[in-house]
């Protein structure tokens, strides 16, 4: 189909190329430049070299706290969510009655995802007198101070995102269903138990989607904003003050665009480094069926 004009494809791509330039590439470069400036929107950006970064890493306690909280959040939320999504997908992969009902029920919270209404609801559910504490008391446990206590507040946001495990689950489920059933039959003839079948057959075959889900969930978790903004407002004691919240307030409340860009770049570099590590490590644990690379 490429006969008549070898640039015809580019014409179809032109909206994308324009958008890529104007809304991605240019802002990307500008953001890098801005991170070395002092810019408050009133006067032109003033180049200040590494000042912003220097201040971030030596003098800014809020930044250090925020960075730590972000890492804790990502490294708890992502593994828990993936493990839970996989566990449920494995159960849903058996022939069960009402399976469509369960799939739908598990997916509904994800569809409502980042909506403000859901964040609002979470705030009421985990209030001191909310139903989560009522349920805890119902089974004889002490109520928990979910939002007032810095050790718990971040966890409520983790719980909210765990509650939305549906899209990761659907992807796992599709992968599980595409596994050739004859592999399981062979394993069962060889007398393999359930765990060993799961570990030696299922797991290797779904590593590509584990990898995909890992990257997607990680990039998403590093950008969590609505949860802490609505549910905890970053508090108490900055215990839920994730980096995107800090960037937002520096940029759009204090109009310190240069400093906010520097924080954004630190966050970006962290995400990139972790993504590169994930891609690099994937050679050792991700198995592509029919892949002839050696």
């Amino acid at each position: 189909m490429s006969g008549d004009n070898r640039f015809l494809g580019l014409i179809y791509l032109s909206p994308y190329i324009l958008g890529l330039m104007v809304f991605t590439a240019l802002p990307f470069a500008a953001s890098f430049y801005l991170s070395f400036t002092d810019y408050n929107l009133m006067s032109a950006p003033v180049f200040t070299g590494l000042d912003n970064y220097w201040k971030l890493f030596t003098g800014d306690r809020t930044f250090r706290k925020s960075l730590w909280v972000t890492l804790v959040y990502v490294f708890t939320t992502v593994p828990l969510k993936l493990a839970f999504a996989l566990f449920i997908a494995v159960i849903l992969n058996y022939k069960l009655k009402f399976i469509n009902f369960f799939r739908t029920a598990f997916y509904v919270p994800s569809i409502l995802g980042g909506s403000i209404a859901i964040a609002v609801m979470w705030r009421y559910l985990f209030a001191d007198v909310g139903i989560v504490n009522m349920a805890l008391q119902g089974i004889g446990l002490e109520p928990v101070n979910w939002f007032g206590d810095p050790t718990n507040a971040l966890f409520t946001i983790t719980l909210l995102r765990l509650w939305q495990f549906g899209s990761a689950m659907v992807i796992f489920l599709a992968a599980l269903q595409s596994i050739d059933k004859s592999l399981y039959e062979a394993a069962s003839i060889d007398g393999a138990g359930k765990f060993s079948t799961f570990w030696h057959i299922t797991m290797p075959l779904i590593t590509p989607v584990i990898f995909f889900n890992l990257i997607m969930q990680m990039v998403q978790a590093f950008q969590e904003f609505n949860g802490p903004y609505i549910i905890t407002q970053g508090g108490p004691l900055k215990s839920t003050y994730l980096l995107p919240l800090y960037i937002y307030e520096e940029a759009f409340k204090r109009f310190d665009m240069g400093y906010a860009s520097a924080i954004a770049w630190v966050l970006f570099v962290i995400i990139m480094v972790l993504t590169v590590i994930a891609f690099w490590s994937s050679r050792h644990w991700v198995y592509y069926a029919g892949d002839k690379r050696s």
Binding site: V108, I116, A117, I131
Partner: protein, 302 residues
């Protein structure tokens, strides 16, 4: 043991029978466990939403009085008062604003992503590899890095406090995920019909519109539905770009009503929360198969 006097054959039969029964028992136990886990998780998934809907019909005094979802003294005052809002506009006005953002955004996304995906999936041209790599890179690029310069750009264009920043990037195929999803979809479709049409003298635009687009309809429905959901749920975009209350979409209006009425009128907030998630819920239940297909197509083939 009595086994000694029985014929070996009978003993073997009994043994087989015993194993079968044990298997069946194990099967029953595992079924009970599975349904148990699924029911428990299902309850945890749905109860908060059911509670939300129930509580939106409760008087304020009752909302935190018990964990049940059925109101003792049902009232629609939350809806009536919430709809009025503390602004000069009703909630209907904010729904209309949301509609004005969502509709152009969906149309722009569908058209631009289809053209771009077609370009990627069916043509060879210089720079294709680099451009496709950039598509994947944008998929992974955190928005957080580009947000500030984008804001400055829209400010210089004079677009702040308009809906343009919310939909123009999407109309230029800015949502890499959708392009990627459509490319995956197109790769799985055989090209026979397109080639036949070309032989019959159709140009590539005619092929795109009359042959490719009809084949892409299920995937395009998924794209539109996801874009609808994401836009309905988007909060940070409007928060940054929209400043006058008369242009607020529902997400900002809801945040505003929390700020102004929270301490005393919970049922207003809960009622408006229910209303803001309703369009998404209804669309989801009507078209759930497209969501589930869309997400697994985007994820698995990649």
């Amino acid at each position: 043991m009595a086994d000694h006097v029985l014929s070996p054959n009978l003993a073997a039969d009994q043994e087989a029978d015993r194993i079968l029964k044990a298997q069946r028992r194990r099967h029953t136990v595992s079924m009970i466990l599975r349904y148990g886990v699924l029911t428990l998780v299902g309850l945890l998934m749905l109860y908060p939403l059911i509670w939300l809907i129930g509580a939106s019909f409760k008087p304020n005094s009752e909302i935190f009085a018990g964990a049940g979802f059925i109101p003792q003294e049902p009232t629609t005052s939350g809806y009536v008062n919430g709809w009025k809002t503390s602004t000069p506009y009703t909630f209907g006005h904010f729904f209309w604003n949301t509609f004005l953002i969502v509709v152009p955004k969906i149309i722009g996304t569908a058209i631009s992503c289809t053209a771009v995906a077609y370009g990627f999936a069916r043509f060879e041209f210089p720079g294709k590899k680099i451009l496709f790599a950039s598509l994947i890179a944008t998929l992974l690029l955190p928005n957080v890095v580009t947000r500030i310069p984008q804001y400055l750009l829209f400010r210089d264009l004079g677009w702040l406090d308009t809906f343009l920043p919310l939909w123009v990037p999407s109309a230029l195929a800015g949502d890499a995920f959708f392009v990627f999803m459509l490319v995956q979809f197109l790769r799985a479709i055989p090209r026979d019909m397109e080639e036949a049409a070309r032989v019959d003298g159709a140009n590539t635009w005619q092929v795109l519109i009359f042959i490719v687009v009809p084949l892409l309809i299920p995937a395009l429905i998924s794209v539109c539905l996801f874009q609808f959901m994401w836009t309905m749920n988007d909060f940070l975009g409007p928060l940054i770009y929209i400043s006058s209350v008369d242009k607020f979409p529902v997400s900002l209006a809801l945040k505003l009503s929390i700020d102004t009425t929270e301490a005393f009128e919970w049922n207003r907030i809960l009622a408006m929360s229910v209303l803001t998630i309703m369009p998404a819920l209804i669309v989801f239940f009507v078209a759930q198969k497209y969501f589930i297909e869309g997400i697994s197509a985007g994820g698995v083939k990649g």
